[in-house]
């Protein structure tokens, strides 16, 4: 049986994604590809056309009589609670009666075909009484809009130290939002069953929450609702809570009509009616000494949260948690302002507020560097955590595992930072239309859900009598390779080829009460839970072997598809057969909860993060100072994933996150008109990076010497979110190219997204021609 010496697919191996062959052949099944049960109906949402107001009259007669229409569903059809909020705040109606943003669902129509339902949904006659609206942070502040959730304050040291600081700089940074643009849109297929049962096939990162929210809306116990997710066509946080709405509507219609109902919005409606990354306005003040050492930081982080709370609380919290990025702030005061606005409620997105906090830290570093006329990298290194009494974060967690000095030094060395920076400065000194910029920026990112109770996971493993293995866990697969990695953990633990481990769809029937696959925690949590299940199985097999073969427990060993029993070696499947015949239980439920973490939000103190992940990127860009167009000439990345569970998958995460981050900071612009209508609601108007936007030279390396100091699964580290923020290097390099037109005398203060327009306008501002 196969290789004598090792298994295929152990941890650390660059195994391809478990579905790779199905992906390339088109055979991978997404929710919309599932064969619909006979009699399936299709629902479509009717969306509001104003940003704020009361519905005075809703005339749906034309909708009801449109071809193919079976029924129209509204607030009165919700059996229990017309609410799909993720957090129990009860502020997110399934169908709105008071409109709070343009694009808010007010009813759904159910028809024989999706096309019929979609056409019918346009026929509603709605009379509104319009109310004034505020769609962005500025307007909401002026109008005195409330917070959607309670704000956070982080404080350490004594902020009055600011007054004594040798230098003080104040500024404002506008940080744009971002649409997820998962390639597969939101979708739910609800199939009614007997009694109160309903089964939902969908594309969510959080099946347990969908189960909970649907049960709540239907007024049934959670045990009546089953949620299945085999794979998502991308999630990025956009399917953490946003699928609740679609699943609720499909389930309500399915139960009402007792027929399967599918709901898949068109891309434009998806982008209009679902939340995005929060955009922020950050007002900061930084005090520092002549060397550039930070003395004090004060910051206010205003976020456009949209009409309801959704995840805005934890998102804005995480912005504060990352407002230090990698730097020690001796005296610090940070405040979040999760503002209500008349826009779709913003939500999770890779980094979860962290990038918005982090980028303002990097802006402050830039401010200091330009002010002191120093290389920003020097300022960074001066302020890294570490050294006497310089390891406490604004939330009072001690940074114990900082490896940024080594990472930045190695990267600067391998990518010739110093020489290239000099060359860039020399190039720019010529004058000329095309200017260059270069920047090396670090990332430190805290890993764990800040809601401590989410840091738990379950797994279920069956070994069948033929030796084949069924693996199930609470994590969902959205392309990040979680299923593959956990399968590798199981293969490794049981010492069988990964091919023997069947990866099965995530379902609330097998593992209950799961957390969202989010916060980069998927393999940390589920890997450990699967490992726990394996350990239980191994213990039972060992006990059986000891009893049957009379060997010492330590003489039992699983290795390379075989079972070693002292001097006897038995094939895995034969041994499992024996165990089955001897009535050994071959199924185990594993569990894991992250140790050490705790967080007291009231006092702003604790250890919210189990550990930190680190990385750094060096980017060089060219900018056309006549048009503001630019190109990323080269990016080098050195990133820490601890001991990689799968270097190919991890590298893919780093590359993909960097490009996605670059899109956030460059061409991805969300633009609402003065009526509150999102005008960049489709790929025709909302521009995510293309292949040709990649850095012309792109070198990505994992720090192969890194390992997690904490006993995580195989000493690996989470990888989903941290590398997203490596793209800040691109923004800062663009800023440098811009600053060159004024001989670097001034901090370029480039806000994001740095579209060609913003870049040109910054050039003209620094030139004094604007």
């Amino acid at each position: 049986m196969k290789d004598e010496l090792s298994i295929t697919g152990a941890t650390g191996e660059a195994l391809p994604h478990d579905s790779a062959i199905k992906h390339v052949t088109g055979k991978a099944e997404y929710t919309d590809d599932i064969r619909e049960p006979a009699g399936t109906l299709h629902a479509y949402l009717g969306l509001s056309t104003i940003a704020h107001g009361k519905i005075e009259a809703l005339d749906l007669s034309a909708v009801k009589t449109a071809p193919g229409v079976i029924d129209v569903i509204g607030p009165a059809d919700v059996p229990a609670d017309n609410d799909c909020s993720a957090n129990g705040m009860h502020d997110e109606p399934i169908f709105a009666e008071t409109v709070e943003f343009l694009g808010q669902p007010i009813f759904a129509v159910v028809a024989e075909s999706r096309d019929q339902a979609r056409r019918a949904a346009q026929l509603a006659e709605v009379k509104y009484t319009e109310l004034p609206h505020a769609t962005n942070v500025m307007a909401a502040r002026e109008a005195g809009y409330p917070n959607v959730t309670s704000p956070l304050k982080l404080e350490r040291g004594d902020i009055t130290a600011m007054e004594a600081a040798p230098h003080r700089l104040k500024g404002t940074m506008v940080v744009g939002g971002q649409d997820h643009f998962y390639l597969e849109g939101q979708i739910a297929l609800a199939v009614p069953g007997e009694d109160e049962d309903v089964v939902i096939n969908t594309s969510t990162q959080h099946p347990s929450e969908v189960q909970h929210v649907v049960a709540h809306a239907l007024g049934v116990p959670s045990h009546s609702v089953v949620v299945n997710v085999r794979r998502m066509g991308g999630g990025f946080g956009g399917k953490e809570t946003q699928m609740n709405l679609f699943c609720c509507v499909a389930a309500i219609a399915a139960k009402k009509l007792n027929r399967p109902v599918k709901l898949r919005p068109d891309r434009d409606d998806d982008m209009t009616a679902t939340g995005k990354r929060h955009d922020f306005v950050v007002e900061y003040e930084v005090g520092f000494d002549d060397e550039g050492r930070i003395v004090a930081v004060e910051g206010d982080y205003f976020a456009r949260c949209g009409f309801c709370s959704d995840l805005s609380g934890p998102v804005t919290d995480r912005a504060l948690f990352h407002a230090d990025n990698a730097y020690f702030y001796p005296n610090v005061l940070l405040r979040s302002h999760p503002l209500k606005t008349n826009t779709v409620s913003n939500t999770a997105f890779r980094g979860f507020g962290g990038p918005q906090g982090l980028i303002a830290a990097e802006r402050m570093v830039e401010e200091i560097a330009y002010y002191l006329k120093r290389d920003p990298l020097e300022i960074r290194k001066l302020n890294f955590y570490g050294g006497e009494g310089r390891d406490l974060t604004p939330y009072h967690q001690t940074v114990e595992d900082n490896i940024l000095d080594r990472i930045t030094d190695e990267l600067a060395e391998s990518a010739s930072y110093k020489e290239r920076r000099e060359a860039v400065i020399a190039w720019n000194a010529r004058g000329g239309v095309i200017r260059k910029g270069i920047a090396l920026t670090p990332v430190k990112f805290g890993i764990s859900f800040t809601a401590t109770w989410f840091n738990q996971a379950g797994a279920l493993i069956h070994i069948y009598a033929d030796g084949s293995i069924h693996l199930n866990h609470g994590g969902t697969e959205m392309g990040q390779g979680l299923y593959t990695k956990v399968a590798q953990v199981v293969a490794d633990a049981l010492q069988v080829d990964a091919g023997l481990v069947k990866i099965t769809k995530t379902t609330t029937e097998k593992v209950p009460n799961t957390s969202a696959t989010a916060a980069s925690s998927g393999s940390d949590l589920n890997g450990m839970a699967a490992k726990d299940a394996c350990d239980q199985l191994i213990a039972r097999l060992r006990a059986f072997a000891v009893e049957k073969y009379g060997i010492a427990p330590e003489d039992f060993r699983l290795y390379a598809n075989r079972v070693h029993l002292g001097d006897t070696v038995v094939e895995w499947d034969a041994f499992i057969r024996e165990a089955y015949m001897a009535r050994v239980q071959l199924s185990a439920a594993g569990f894991y909860k992250t140790p050490k973490i705790h967080w007291d939000r009231e006092s702003g103190k604790g250890r919210p993060f189990y550990y930190f992940a680190y990385g750094a990127a060096l980017s060089e860009v060219s900018v056309d100072t006549l048009t503001g167009e630019y190109r990323v000439d080269r990016t080098d990345i050195l990133h820490d994933v601890g001991r990689s569970l799968n270097p190919a998958i991890d590298k893919g995460q780093v590359e993909g996150a960097f490009i996605q981050g670059m899109g956030w900071l460059t061409t991805e612009e969300l633009w609402w008109d003065d009526k509150g209508r999102l005008r960049t609601h489709a790929p025709s108007t909302y521009k995510i990076p293309l292949a040709s936007d990649r850095p012309r030279v792109f070198n990505v390396a994992l720090a192969d010497w890194a390992e997690n100091r904490e006993p995580t699964i195989k000493r690996s580290k989470a990888v989903g979110e941290p590398p997203f923020m490596l793209a800040v290097s691109v923004l800062e390099a663009l800023g440098m190219a811009v600053a060159s037109v004024a001989d670097y005398a001034e901090c370029p203060r480039l806000d994001t997204p740095a579209t060609p327009e913003r870049v040109l306008m910054a050039v003209e501002r620094l030139r004094g021609t604007r």
Partner: protein, 485 residues
């Protein structure tokens, strides 16, 4: 003339003959819903993401030609007489994975996998067309494919790795060429095709003369060429287009003719078909042309459609106006010719009578002393609509500008010449000061709009700066383009 009431084509291996086809039925819905070929995905339903990429093979005078297209905005009726190839049909010489698929697996080119079938189809088309593609060629082939997960690096590497294996001659689609050609020829019956689903009618005229007739019979009909605009009317605005009058299949409209004085393009010539001839004649169009839409849309969209839609942000009108192009309109047996810029009257208003269609575009060949440039500025470099498009043709004799033609897109309600700037240049010496003086006149001729693509201020500033770019490029050695710096 014979009329046929069914659409006939080949889907992968199988012959299809379908009667029940409405004007607004898309190829994608047909594949996914009717035929359950779910490998082809819907990501946007507007031609911008490429998840729905399939190949469409059609007979041309040069032989069987396969192009990548977006099935989401391709109307089902329009594949009459074609060979539609989906991801399900792709296979290697021995029946297993195709080399492109193998490389994508080996190099980790998929993560969530939703973009992957479309990307594989684009790379497959590239692989067939180009034995050893450069990175630039790979990126061009992927302009119409979005991937949100991978960052594209492994996909580009996979494209390179796949080409290293060669094997094109053994590719099943190539081996089948003669059979498919024969089968498609057999489908040609010279008939007009008229199909309908209820009231929703689509007509494929038999030839150009028949088109003129169909238009006279159905003056309210919607002409559909490449459907890269009309497709969105249906998928995004749910607008009725019946009766849809297709012209994309009319061979005469695909003709490209060249004589000593001019190049003449049939209105149905696609961006892709026109590329070679235009770029050979006017090399300055190379970059500009490659930045119009993505590969799939360039394979579908026609120059006639880009003109006829009258959009102020279409890219070909400024370029063609600067080149002094004329268009020929035809109604029934009658034709008239007019300078292209005169076709655009106002926003949404063109000089085209009901039942009239654009038949061809004539572009006079370059003359001595002409300096050409065409610039596109957009938020994202590729596959984006222009914030500003500009085209220059300056004739310079002994350092003096004797004629200036400058046209802008995105600066007014129509594609428009910069009359004041042209006047400011004519008769002046060609230098930076003259160019900037001309640029300074732009606010007199243009009052651009602010929208999500760009602000009025940016459009104006960038447009003016393009005069400086033109001078630097033509009059100095300064490297002023990102591509060359």
């Amino acid at each position: 003339m014979a009329t046929r009431n069914e659409v006939r084509f080949i889907l992968n291996g199988e012959d299809q003959a379908i009667r029940d086809v409405g004007a607004s039925d898309t190829l994608l819905d047909f594949l996914r819903i009717d035929r359950r070929l779910t490998g082809t995905k819907e990501g946007c339903a507007e031609g911008d993401c490429g998840a729905c990429t399939v190949l469409v093979g059609r007979l041309t005078p040069q032989g069987l030609r396969y192009d990548t297209v977006n099935a989401c905005i391709r109307f089902l009726a329009s594949v009459d007489g074609c060979h539609v190839v989906t991801i399900e049909h792709l296979r290697g010489p021995e029946g297993g994975l195709h080399p492109v698929q193998e490389a994508m697996v080996a190099l980790h080119g998929s993560q969530c996998g939703f973009c992957t079938p479309g990307i594989v189809m684009s790379l497959y088309a590239l692989w067939m067309a180009t034995a050893t593609p450069s990175v630039t060629e790979i990126e061009r082939a992927l302009q119409g494919n979005l991937c949100r997960c991978t960052g594209y690096e492994p996909i580009v590497k996979a494209a390179q790795a796949a080409s290293a294996g060669k094997g094109q001659s053994q590719d099943p689609l190539n081996l089948e060429r003669n059979t498919i050609t024969k089968r498609l020829s057999d489908l040609r019956d010279g008939a007009r095709v008229e199909v309908a689903k209820g009231e929703d009618r689509a007509i494929l005229p038999a030839d150009t003369a028949d088109l003129a007739k169909v238009l006279e019979e159905n003056p309210e009909g919607t002409i559909v060429a490449g459907a890269t605009d009309v497709g969105l009317w249906v998928t995004k605005f749910l607008r009725p287009i019946s009766p849809a009058i297709h012209i994309g299949h009319l061979e005469e409209l695909h003709e490209i003719a060249e004589d000593d004085a001019a190049i003449t393009l049939g209105a149905g010539v696609t961006y892709s078909e026109a590329a070679l001839t235009l770029i050979m004649t006017w090399p300055h169009l190379l970059e500009y042309w490659d930045r119009i839409a993505g590969w799939q849309v360039r394979n579908m969209g026609t120059i006639g459609g880009n003109i006829a839609n009258g959009s102020p942000i279409g890219d070909t009108p400024p370029a063609l106006i600067a080149l002094d192009a004329t268009i020929t309109l035809r109604k029934g047996g009658e034709t008239r010719e007019l300078p292209l810029e005169r076709f655009f009257i106002d926003y949404g208003k063109q000089d085209r009578a009901e039942g009239e269609f654009v038949e061809r575009i004539r572009i006079p060949k370059p003359a001595a002393g002409q300096l050409h440039a065409a610039y596109k500025i957009s938020k994202r470099r590729d596959e984006d609509i222009s914030s500003v498009a500009a085209a220059f043709r300056l004739t310079v004799e002994d350092g003096t500008i004797t004629e200036a033609r400058i046209a802008f897109g995105g600066m007014a309600a129509t594609p428009k010449r910069a009359a004041k700037a042209e006047a400011a240049l004519t008769g002046q010496s060609f230098d930076e000061a003259t160019m900037m003086k001309a640029a300074a006149t732009l606010p007199e001729d243009f009052a651009p709009l602010s929208d999500w693509r760009a602000s009025a201020e940016y459009r104006m500033r960038a447009a003016q700066n393009l005069f400086r770019r033109f001078w630097y490029e033509k009059g100095t050695d300064e490297a002023v383009r990102l591509e060359t710096a």
